[in-house]
Amino acid sequence: MNTQPGVFTGALKMDEVPIMQLRARLKSEIGDGNRLGLLTAADGADGHQLLTLIIQTQSGGVSLLNSPLPHDAVSYASLTPDLPQAHWFEREIADLWGIRPVGHPRLKSLVMHDSYPTDLFPLAEHVTAATARKRSRRAPYRFTVVQGNGVFEVPVGPVHAGIIEPGHFRFSCLGEVIENLEIRLGFVHRGLEERLTRCDWRMMNYLVEAASSDTAAANATAHAFAMENLCSVPAAPDVRKMRYACIEIERAACHIGDLVGICTDLGFGAGGTAFSALRGDVLGVAELLTGTRFMTSVIVPFAHKYMPAKPLLIEATRRLRTCSSQLRSILPLLLNNGAAIERMEGMGDIKTSLARDFGLVGPAGRASGIAYDVRKVIAQPEYEQVEWQPPTYFEGDVFARTRVRAEEAIVAMELAADMVSRITSSHEPDSSPATLPANSVGVGIVEAWRGELIHLVMTDSHGRVSRYKIKDPSFNNWTALSIAVRGRLLSDFPLCNKSFGLSYSGTDL
């Protein structure tokens, strides 16, 4: 059954697809232009099952497929050979459940580091003695070795030079040129999905906000929609406007923040200064509307907390419009700057075909010709009041990604101003149910600033949350970064990296 997540349409049901048929089904779905939203596992009545979420890019609906593994089975035929975008999903499943995708071209751990016991598969709960016997221990991590005359390795991280998250980059270089980059993440794996099934469901919003805490508003919104979808309780119109306005403000602040980073990596200090002052102004609007610069603790399922009074809404609308016109006026400093363009043009390019194979999302996808934007695909009336199109380019280089992000920031502030100006009351509605429905599932999908963000929640026969999955947009995009820098100079890596602006904690969870 198909339904539109984020827009209340009633209970979401799962279709059972036998595991033997899953590969063919996905191949045809993706071939038809649909998207693999996420692939994960859960515990079923009789052992493990694979869950696949497909997004119909034409109709804006989703379908959720459930493929039980045979009793006690801990392996299945890998989907990656046909579907390259499944490769990290399958590694994650292997890490957290000990389920082996047989035939995966590069199976190694993704989030479970060698510091964990090799027989710890933290999300596999209902494991029979037979399953436990069949599961093999996690193998120690081995980097791909590039051999050849004069090839040497440059290890970078986990502690990086700048004020950013930890991760490890293993460059294999020939002279200054990068032959291969292997990205080793998982350093900030905090066991988030396990924590979510342990905490009171009324407190889950605080935990999802910390999934990638620079994306608090989008995570809280996807969570709220997932919970409302689970309970078949629609959100009030003003609540929806406020949530989307927060996501748009977050988008503007983060894109402008990364423009600062791009200026810094270009050695263009004057540009960085101008953008960072503007970022402060945008955060000031966030503070005005929600009480914090990162808009935490206000977006909750079934309600909205601290709904601002009308004068604050008017003030916020005015300031958002000022920020947007200011960004328009300072953007040429970077985008019409010959020296900057020279560094960005043609750098770290990703072709459309590759972007499609790996299922790239968000600004990185749109810079490579993939127009997919959740805000356009899944009908949301809040986004239809203003005439706008997601900027799309085909070059796929640093310059294209920078332009997409800059133009999106301008649109985001205009959209937010429009939504905020349409909020009619400061009443805080609350339609929280007393309990969650049993054996149900809910999905929330939003376009976070990095791209498509999906939350999936499932309950057991007692109405307890038994599985919670977050798919951060970065999860789809990391591979593209490692491909974009092949054949480039080592010194161009920071700029390429910043143009993608990916989240480590959102990926590691």
Binding site: F187, S212, S276, S505
Partner: protein
Amino acid sequence: MLPSLLNYLKSPRCTADEIFPDLSAANRGLPAITSAPCTHGEGCTLCADGCPTKAIELPTDEKPEVALDLGKCVGCGHCMRVCPTKTIVTSRSTRTAVKRREDLVLRAGRPTLNVDAAHSPFKQSVVVRYVSTGDNATDLEVAACTNPIFDASRFGIHFTASPRFADVLLVAGPAPLAMQEPLCQTLHAMGQPRVIIAVGAQAISGGMFCGGYANANGVSSVLQPDVWVPGNPPHPWMILHGLLLAMGHPLALHT
């Protein structure tokens, strides 16, 4: 070149002149405890019931006052909003860093944060090595300290890529298992004397992550911080307060 120069000349000075101003009136702030008597005796449990991190301990016979642990507080605003007696209120002060973990536990007898003037090995200037362990909002607020608004360098605070040059290890995030060894290695690469600062509720207590298989229970499971900066994430002024407190800077000591 010319447009950049023009913009540069046209834009007003944006550096904040007031040091440690209170947060704006719109900001939710952090909770503070007053001496107004709590009505828990008559059955009120409103604050503790809605606290996501169980930061609030209600009075008992042995401990007759409410205790609120800012090291666990994620700043959700619930307790300040619901307390009928104004025992828990809002504080918008940005001088929030402390030197002892127990000083983050607020009680009626000790309502405000205690900033003692204990000596610091550094005075005029410190070089900081920042390590993030999974809280990228705090990364952004630490980075904001270096922007022209907050301008950390005017206080003699500089960030470095190499722990070899660093005086201060500034750590954010809940320090999950896979980051514990890199964190220790970074510390051991630093010279002496050195100071460790835990920045943000996640670094102090693990925040909402506390208690899972990833051991994301905060920095103190592997290091002993000398300065603690509450907040989720802390405002850049709060982070600067922690750094200046670590320096024993007079600006950090007046309350």
